[in-house]
Each structure stands twice: as C-alpha cells, then as structure tokens.
C-alpha cells in the first residue's frame, strides 16, 4: 500500500537520523569555520535551487520535496 | 600596547579592505582605552581605585573577561592571576642598577595577590584589600586581536592577518590557499628566527623572557612573575603556542612559561601546537 510505504520510508528516515545521533561528535563553536562555508550550506543559492527544480518538474512525473507552498505550474 | 600592530588584508578590493581595517583598528583602540591601567578613565583604573572600598559596576564585556581570567586561574592552578601586577612594585625592570627584591618585600605584597579573594559577579567586581590591582594586560591585547579578526571576517574579508605586538591571528589562509607562514623570534637574537610555523584560521602567541628583564650575577630575571612565589619564570626562554584563538594562545603560552618542566605535558593536554625553548636554547616542539 502506498500509505504504509510512506510510513516505512519515514521510519527509515528517522532511524538514519537517530543512528547518526548516536555517533555524533558535534563540534564546538570555534570548530564551525568549515561549516560556515557557502559550499556547506543547503540554502546557499535559493534562486538556482528553485529554477533547477522547476526544470526537473517539467520533465519528470512528480517533483519537488523539501519545500512547501511553492505553487504549481502548467508544466505538469 | 606600544608595539607593532598591523593588519594584512588580501584578495579584496581596496576600499572594502580599508573600511574593514578602519573598523578593526577602531575596536583595538577602544579596548586599549577601556582596559589600560595607565589611563585614569579606564574601567581598570576605576576598579583599582575602589580597592578595599565599594564594588564597581561592570558591563557584560568586562564580566566576560573576568570570567575568562577566572577560568585561566583555575586551569593554571593559580599561576595565571590578573591580580599579580602589584609585584611590579618590588620588581622594577627599569631600575639601574637592577636589584632582586628581598623575601620580606615580596611577602609584604602577598595579602594583595590572589584572584580567589576577589569578589565578582556578572555585574559587579570588588577588590577586598586597599592596594590590590587588576591588570588586563595579559589578555586584553589577545582579545583585541580576536575581535579585530572577527570584525574583518564579518565584513567579508576571507584572508587576513592581524598582528598585535607579536600575537598573530589569521583569518583563513593566504589568498592563494596556502597557509600563512609566521616566523618565531630567536629568544636571544631579536633579528633572527628559530622556526617558521604555519597558520590557517588560527592564532599564535609567544611569551618570552626577553620582553622586559634584567640580568644580575649571571641570572636573568624577566617580567613574567609567578604570583605564588613572587619570583620570575626561569625555566623557559620562550613559549610559542598555536591555538584557535589569540586569547587562548596567549594564555597557554603564559601558563607554559610559569609551569616549569610541566609545560610540555600541560600544552599537550590542551591539544595545541607549541614550540618551547629551554634555558640552554634547546627546542621542544609538539611534534
């Protein structure tokens, strides 16, 4: 079933994060210099992310993920 | 802070760099004015004037520095003590001919030394004895270097070097990606270096017995005084330490100078890079 598959995926996601949580060595603030690099950010170029996502949405079945309220377009 | 101060900025346009440098220098001057014990209008002077009397109100910045000094005092088992400046009353490094104070003279100052006696909180500080003094000289310059670095970085400077009298804080690497290369001064020859260390987003500070000292009967007496004995440090000629912040590098170097033969173990426990030069001029490095 679609629904149970979704839940299964969600549980997998949580398990991966929880597992990561057990072995973490969270850095101290002064060790975060590398994390502040633009290449390490997930939102470094919002415009590029949005436009590229739009291209894939016009070519592939269902797209998106990771954002809410982007609105639809006539391309699907 | 009558020594060489310089800020190198690279990989950016001139006007932008000048603005960042201007802001950084203004902040260094602000800290110098605020904490100098030579200025009557500094917070240090206000606290020292009130010694033995009332508590003095302090701001967050001063409280943070006191907290830092407190942690240094604890880590060093009392050798790093911002009340030890009163020892300068009997140790005069400019006096001619030089003389070593008597044990009685040193003992007379003992009631005025001891951070553990200072009453302090987040908003007030009080020195309990008349004649006690606080001295931020051991941390103020390094704190200023770290702040100057942050100011440059927040203005988008990715590659810079802040040098406040030999305490050097690097922002990033050099513009071409290679680390900064800093020479370590020869403790007995001001024009020579004994080693080169690399810095990438780190700081280096050196504490040495050559900054202010006198020699008498073949012994060197330097300005780094141990508050617990009242005597100068005499185990190392110099201690250079690389740490993430200039203020840490400076404190580690000072503590190492006063830690005698335990200095290498102390520095290894802090997981920092270091270079110690002992009485005979032999070098001990972290690796």
């Amino acid at each position: 079933m679609r629904c149970s598959r979704s839940i299964e995926a969600l549980l997998t996601a949580l398990a991966v994060i929880a597992l990561a949580g057990c072995t973490l060595q969270p850095p101290k603030p002064w060790e975060k210099g590398d994390l502040a690099r633009a290449s390490m950010r997930f939102d470094a170029d919002p415009l590029e992310t949005k436009l590229t996502q739009h291209i894939y949405q016009s070519k592939e079945g269902a797209g998106g993920g990771g954002t809410v309220g982007g609105g639809g377009c006539g391309c699907n | 802070m009558a020594s060489v101060h310089e800020i190198h900025l690279c990989g950016t346009d001139r006007a932008h760099a000048e603005r960042a440098a201007h802001d950084a220098i203004a902040d260094v001057k602000r800290i110098e004015a605020k904490y100098s014990r030579y200025r009557d209008d500094s917070i240090t002077s206000a606290i020292n004037r009130a010694a033995g009397y009332e508590a003095v109100a302090i701001d967050d910045e001063t409280a943070s520095l006191l907290r830092y000094a407190d942690r240094c005092h604890a880590l060093s088992n009392g050798s790093f003590d911002i009340t030890s400046g009163v020892l300068r009353r009997v140790w005069d490094f400019k006096r001619q001919p030089p003389r070593v104070p008597s044990q009685d003279e040193i003992d007379a100052l003992r009631p005025l030394i001891g951070w553990q006696h200072v009453e302090w909180s987040d908003d007030h500080v009080r020195l309990p004895e008349r004649g006690m003094e606080l001295d931020f000289g051991g941390i103020g310059k390094e704190y200023a270097a770290d702040r100057a670095a942050t100011i440059c970085r927040e203005r988008g400077i990715a590659h810079a070097l802040v040098n406040l009298g030999g305490d050097v804080r690097a922002i990033g690497s050099r513009a071409d990606g290679s680390p900064w290369r800093i020479g370590i001064r020869h403790p007995r020859n001001a024009d020579a270096t004994i080693a080169t260390i690399t810095l990438d987003d780190e700081a280096v500070a050196t504490s040495g017995d050559y900054e202010r000292y006198f020699e008498l009967d073949g012994c060197r007496y330097c300005h780094l005084l141990d508050p617990r004995t009242g005597m100068p440090a005499d185990h190392w000629q110099s201690a250079s330490v690389v740490a993430p912040l200039a203020i840490l590098a400076g404190s580690y170097a000072t503590i190492a100078m006063l830690a005698c033969d335990r200095a290498p173990a102390f520095l290894r426990a802090q997981r920092v890079r270091f270079l110690l030069v002992d009485k005979e001029g032999a070098q001990i490095a972290s690796h």
């Binding site: 101290k28 290449s39 919002p46 436009l51 982007g70 639809g72 | 942690r71």
Partner: protein, 390 residues
C-alpha cells in the same frame, strides 16, 4: 595564600586528568563567550546581516532524435535584505519565454501533438523571516502566471534550533490555489478549472562533526482538482493526488583538497503510481584565485503512473477511464551531468557559469522495465549567475 615555592607548586598538580580536562574546556568556553569573538557566520541561524542581489539567466533547450523541441530563455532576479537584527525579507522574479515546438513524447504520434505551450511564464515570490532567540518564523507568498495557468501559494515555516546550534527542526505548511484556463485545449476548452494543494513539511538539520552536516525532510502534498493535460487527446487523470517525498542532503568538507562533497537522495511516492528515486552528487572544488569548479551527476529512476499507457493509441485506452500517454508519467531513467565554474571577484561579486546535459531513456530505469517506444529525450541548460553582497 597559595603555595610558597616551586616544590609545593608541583605537589598541587596531582589532580585527576578529568578535572584538568574540564578546566581546559571551561577556559575555551569562557573565551568563546567573550563578545565579538565568534563571527556571526559561526552562529548559524541568527539573522544574516548582509544584503544579496543575484541575477541568473537560464538558457534551456530540449530535443528528441532529429527534432528540436523547445527552448526557454529565463532571466531571473533574487534579492535578500535584512530589515533589522531579527527581520529579513527576500524575494525573486522569474520570467520564462518559451519558443519552438512542444515535445512530441512518442515516436508513434497518436494525434496528441502536444500542448499549445504558453509563450511565457512569469513568477514572483517573497518571504519574510522573523528571528527570535532560538527559533524563526517565515511567511511566504508565491504567484505565477501563464497564459492558461495561474497559481497563488502561501507558506509558513517555523524553525527551532538546539542551544549549541548543531540541530535544527523545521515544520512547514503550504497551500496553493491554482486555476487552469485552456481555451484551445484538444480535450474541448477547459475553463476555470481549480486545483488546490496543501503541503506539510517536517525537517531536521544535524551537524555531525566539524566537517559534515546532514539535512533530512519529509513532505506530504495533498492536491485536489484538475490534474489532466488539456492539450493531450483523451488525457484523463485522477482528481486527487497525494505525494510523499523524503529528501536527504549530506555535505562534507575535505580540508586537504579544499573541497566539499554534496550528496542528495530523494524518495518520492505519488498516488498516481510514478514512484521515484533520485540520487545526486556534487564535488565543489576550491581552486586558487577565487575559482570554484563543481562537477555534478544526478540520476533518477521512476515507475510509470498506473493509468499510463504505452503508445500506440488506443492501446489500453478505455473510454471514460483514466488514461495518459504523457512521457513524464512513463517509466524511465534519467541522467544529468553538470559542470559549474564560479569565480569571486573584487567588490564582493561572484559570477558563475554552468552547463548541464540531461537525458531520459526508458531502458535506464532501475529495477523494472522502462516504458517502450519512447524517443530519447535530451535537454541541456546553460546558466549565467551574478551575485553581489554588501
């Protein structure tokens, strides 16, 4: 008073290593607590204090063997402005101008000659973010307009982070109201057809160590209304579509080569049946003189929608039933190869150029047969970007 000689000094140092290391940590924490020691960038999630203006231009083209299909030229503008220490506003404008024929989708043409593509699309969005001590609230709105399609959307997203700022949680809600007006559709005019979509998001960002960070989110989307393609003959899709997406990104910095590895995975489950897995990887390599080179590879494999029928028409077509021959809902695999070059210039300007090549093929699908009879669709897009910070 403390010790009076060097000998007692040594004796006082017989403490446990644990006590000593706690003192070491206490000193470092006190140093970091000094005002102005940590750059604002290290305090992730506080309101950013620099303004950004970015221009980006996409030149997109796709084709099938022997036939040029569509080309889109798309200039866009993005701005980010902090209004105060705790309030930021950002927004973007995009304009697509479309030319050329529309995709044929199949080798065997069945009368569905593709839609009459609107020759433009304009879109605007804006977002205001308010930062509180340990959390932020963002409210956004988006609008896009095509000849035959109007979309209005709103969103709200709340983020909160741990005291050490190593973990962030996000909760989001979005709603979109779309309207379709295809006067020239082959399925008879489609007038004023509505579509409403609600999106829900749960996300977590976790700093793993000093050089790696992971972000994972799940999104549910629940849409009701008109989902068919008015320009495709006999196209009839369900009027209810639920999408579940699990998206994970992992970034890791390697100091020695001065590079960042960016990995992404997306699992997507659609009530239409076109389930997909997407994997992508980028290597962001810093080079001397402010240059950055970023090769990217992306792979997608998707199943066909349960009402998708392979050509030729009327294979599998039941009058009155659900039906689509849209290639986007077929089973295929797709690969993108991309290369980006960016350079930092004086005056805090950054420019970048990117080239991306994309190809879909039925037999590139993983773990199942692809839909047969599909022409190999290829696309490429070139990007030019310019960003100024101040």
């Amino acid at each position: 008073m403390a010790a009076t000689s060097g000998a007692t000094f040594a004796a006082t140092r017989t403490e446990s290593p644990k006590a000593s290391s706690e003192r070491s940590a206490a000193l470092i924490l006190a140093a970091l607590a000094l005002p102005g020691i940590l750059p604002a960038a290290a305090l992730a999630q506080s309101a950013p204090d620099e303004r950004v203006i970015a221009l980006r231009y996409y030149d997109y083209r796709d084709w099938q063997p022997g036939v040029d299909r569509m080309s889109v030229k798309s200039p866009s503008l993005y701005a980010f402005v902090p209004l105060s220490d705790s309030l930021t506003v950002e927004g973007s404008l995009v304009y697509d101008s479309v030319s050329g024929a529309s995709p044929l989708y199949h080798d065997a043409v069945s009368g569905a000659s593709g839609r009459g593509i609107g020759d433009y699309r304009s879109a605007a969005d804006a977002k205001v973010t308010k930062y509180f001590g340990g959390s932020s609230l963002a409210v956004g709105a988006a609008y896009s307009h095509e000849q035959d399609y109007i979309s209005r959307a709103a969103s709200v997203e709340w983020r909160t982070w741990s005291d050490d700022r190593n973990r962030t949680y996000a909760i989001g809600f979005g709603a979109a109201k779309d309207r379709i007006n295809a006067v020239e559709g082959v399925n008879a005019p489609v007038l004023d057809q509505p579509r409403e979509t609600y999106d829900y998001l749960l996300g977590i960002t976790q700093v793993l160590d000093a050089a790696s960070v992971v972000e994972s989110s799940v999104t549910w989307s629940d849409g009701r209304g008109y989902f068919s393609d008015p320009y495709k003959l006999h196209d009839a899709r369900p009027n209810h579509r639920r999408i579940f997406a699990w998206l994970t990104h992992y970034n890791r910095y390697f100091a020695a080569p001065g590079a960042t590895l960016q990995l992404g995975y997306r699992y997507l489950d659609d009530s239409f049946g076109d389930r997909s897995h997407m994997l992508e990887a980028s290597w962001v390599q810093a080079l001397p003189y402010g240059l950055t080179l970023t090769p990217t590879i992306r792979y997608l494999t998707q199943a066909a929608a349960h009402f998708y029928r392979d050509p030729p028409f009327p294979q599998g077509f039941v009058p009155g039933g659900l039906y689509t021959a849209d290639e986007r809902l077929s089973a295929f695999g797709a690969v993108t190869l991309g290369l980006r070059v960016a350079k930092e210039l004086p005056h805090r300007l950054t420019i970048d150029v990117a080239f991306n090549a994309y190809r879909q093929r039925g037999d590139w699908r993983l773990g199942g047969d692809g839909s047969p009879g599909l022409a190999k669709l290829s696309a490429r897009w070139i990007e030019f970007g310019l960003a100024k910070r101040f």
